[in-house]
Amino acid sequence: MATLQTRASARLMMTPAVVLLLLWMAVPLAMTLYFSMLRYNLLMPGMEEWAGFLNYRFFLTDPAFLTGLLNTLLLVGGVLLISVGGGILMALLLDQPFFGQGIVRLMVIAPFFVMPTVSALVWKNMLMHPVNGLFAWIARTFGLQPVDWFGEAPLFSIVMIVSWQWLPFATLILLTALQSLDTEQKEAAEMDGAGALSRFIYIVLPHMARAITVVVLIETIFLLSVFAEILVTTNGGPGVQTTTVTYLVYVQALLQFDVGGASAGGIVAVVLANIVAIFLVRLIGKNLE
């Protein structure tokens, strides 16, 4: 379609969004780049001096950095695994006819509307606490030793909480995808002798590939910046077991008030995020077309 005229107007119409986002990205990014080269601590004004790559050196050689990187990947990967895997199961379940389906659906999507801080607080204090928590009570009721979630499996605990928040999102998208599967295709597979499991593996799952891609992409973007949940529950500990790259940046920025360090960390995080993004796009990009 598109004549020269429409193409010209198209360019015009894109301009506000592109320019604003460019500004929103470029200005802080430029400032961040600049700051990252400074020895600049908010608490010591007037002492700013050029530091070259010092901040980068310290950020990258931080013993917590590699663990942080790994934890970030584990967190993102874990949540993706649980929310996508769980989302598929939930979608399959919600696709079955049963009584009160609508209400169950409402219950399942509810966590998506809860603020991250609230959900972290609720999970930590009211559910997972090894003494006063509900899980501990359940364990004890069954004569089991309550699990000290944040002591024994801290990262997993956080993955659980975050997964709980993102499961509805995955469920919703996957359910819609599932319901868009052509019935004739399912019937054809049935005629072809495929059992329920085969139909799922060969027909349903490939059909949902694109939806899964979208879930993975969107969730990754949001998960890379998760830190409120960590802050509220474990403060990155015990040790550095729940320290992620974002959390490290947070430490630089809002505990140390080391703007230089935080900026360097931010830049590193951006680079890493983009590597992940490129990797993702490579891996699954063609599903997006």
Binding site: L43, V131, E152, G236, P238, Q252, Q256
Partner: protein
Amino acid sequence: ETLTIATVNNGDMIRMQKLAGAFTEKHPDIELEWVTLEENVLRQRVTTDIATKGGQYDIMTIGTYEVPIWAAQNWLVPLDFAADYDVDDLLPAIRAGLSMDGTLYAAPFYGESSFVMYRKDLFEEAGLEMPEAPSWDFIGEAARKITDKDNEVYGICLRGKAGWGENMAFLTAMANSFGARWFDMEWKPQFDQPEWKEALQFYIDLMNDAGPPGASSNGFNENLALFQTGKCGMWIDATVAASFVSNPDESQVADKVGFALAPDKGLGKRGNWLWAWSLAVPAGSQKTDAAKTFIAWATSKEYSALVAEKEGWANVPPGTRTSLYENSAYQEAAPFADLTIKSIQAADPTSPTVEDVPYVGVQFVAIPEFQGIGTAVGQQFSAALAGQSSVDQALSNAQALTQREMEKAGYPK
């Protein structure tokens, strides 16, 4: 004029917010807007704001950690009060922590130290008697004796959640009594010294033997809940907790709580800290006078009397004024008053340790880098508590990372 006041969401502050009507009545030209935030968020907010001269707040609630650092940067307006404020009535230890070169930069709203809270009934059952000034050895022994894990009674609850204001507040204060210190006079970290090892080993063994499960993520609040529900035999923590644990509305063990000074190791220092939430005026504020007026009101004897009248003596903000502790009505309402004041007096921020140190602060080191370092070290120690690493490893990691951060920050200066 509208004053924007940033406060922490602790009980005493919230009470002040409720009672502020009395102030605005007297000063109809001043309106108050409150920003009540959780401690960590509050600290982030006010620090960012003051450091960038954002000017969003006229009064900030800050702790003894911030005051010396900020005062040194000329970020705070010096406070001078009229005579009827009676500056000299402020507890000297607290006042010293909030002053620089003799000038007061923040007015204490309430102060606290730490001490031992224990269950008299459990001690009695075990045939133990708590001395007023126990030693660590006694505490260790008693804790193990009381522990009855099957009935969910744990001998001792201590902070384990990583954070400079969480486990490190306790551990630093405790380490002080073991003769340890953060830095020597050359700003060299001291985690490789035997005192730290002894202190940490003691803490971890004790918690493993007599602590509750999940201790590595317990902070003040978690422990409070545990103690109030009768799960702890002892709890060493802030003196303000005394009023919560002995409040029958909240606590299931209100009538069974006893108090004692923080333990020592016989080296002349007790393991208690000193903290005061204080009100200060940022230098960027346009409304300095009104702000000072408010602060004078909020930290005055008059305010104490107001609280006493409205909410009872037990709820008066503790730990700031000598006169309060000489008040018999208060002493009666608050059985822990005596030990509180003794604890506060026993702490000395300017000389916190057995050996000399170049820094100020009992349970913290008043340098800007401390929040980050303290939290990082806290993570190491909580890992050791969770059994994820050994004591030695935790200490050597702590040593290395502290060294690193200090080097990055350019110490010694």
